[in-house]
């Protein structure tokens, strides 16, 4: 037997089976960010100097470049999900909400691509 209401059956609409997707990806990126964050802060702390040669030499090391690409991807994906929740919680009007969500998503995708491209350019130079 079906538990769907007659109206629900008539409309032919139902769950998109994505109810937990946002929650789950937020947790997946959170777990990935545990080792990546510790690596990131302590690696930066151990840089001998902030000048161009020291930092670009560090970024160019293959293991660092790969970890940085992972870090940038996870951070910006996690950030996008978090900002989305904040916008959905506090922006009341539908128009402003959708505008803010689009803006946030565009900024996050552009930043992610720019960050990954910058790391690859330094690493492959």
């Amino acid at each position: 037997m079906s538990y769907r209401s007659p109206l629900g059956r008539a409309r032919g609409l139902g769950s998109a089976k994505q109810g937990t997707h946002h929650f789950w990806i937020q947790r997946v990126t959170a777990v990935a960010l545990i080792p990546l964050t510790l690596w990131f802060v302590f690696s930066l702390a151990r840089l001998p100097s902030a000048d161009f040669d020291a930092v670009s030499w560090w970024v160019a090391a293959p293991s660092v470049a790969v970890a940085l690409v992972l870090y940038i991807g996870c951070v910006l994906y996690h950030s996008q999900l978090g900002v989305q929740v904040v916008i959905e919680d506090y922006v009341g009007s539908e128009g402003a909400k959708i505008t803010a969500l689009l803006l946030s998503q565009f900024v996050h995708v552009i930043a992610g691509l720019a960050g990954v491209f910058a790391v690859l350019k330094i690493a492959l130079a």
């Binding site: 545990i34 964050t37 802060v41 001998p48």
Partner: protein
């Protein structure tokens, strides 16, 4: 007679009061919760700054070297220290959230203990990062 709705944003039904205001007493746990969200928003700005720095680095020494004196000046270091703590606070409290997600530590005494632990560990980790940085410099 029902009164007309003042706007679409205020439906005529009981609503839970907003967390800030006269209805709820501020508690350590609720303050940590809002700090998690505020540090998250600050870290979004931090992530964009990190990307901007990487783009400057990739575009060559001329642009990047203009930034270095600002990064090493007191205000740059203070900003980096603030971002370090925000990141490590969100990191520690995020682990607390993951623990809740698997159903552990949801009772009040444990939630308060882990809350204090998050404050202490985030400060200790921040100090450890900066001690490492100062020892390396």
């Amino acid at each position: 007679m029902s009164t007309p709705a003042t706007s679409k944003a205020t439906p005529q039904r009981p609503l839970s009061p907003f967390m800030i205001g006269p209805y709820y007493k501020p508690q350590m746990t609720s303050m940590l919760s809002i700090t998690h969200r505020l540090t998250g928003l600050a870290l979004t700005v931090g992530a964009l700054l990190m990307v901007a720095l990487l783009v400057c680095l990739a575009s060559g020494p001329e642009g990047y070297n203009v930034l270095v004196p600002h990064l090493t000046a007191w205000y740059g270091q203070a900003l980096l220290a603030a971002f370090t703590w925000a990141l490590l606070y969100h990191f520690c409290n995020g682990i607390r959230h993951l623990m809740w997600d698997v159903g552990k530590g949801l009772d009040m005494p444990t939630a308060e203990k882990t809350g204090y632990a998050v404050i202490v560990v985030s400060v200790v980790l921040t100090a450890a990062v900066w001690a490492t940085a100062l020892a390396t410099a």
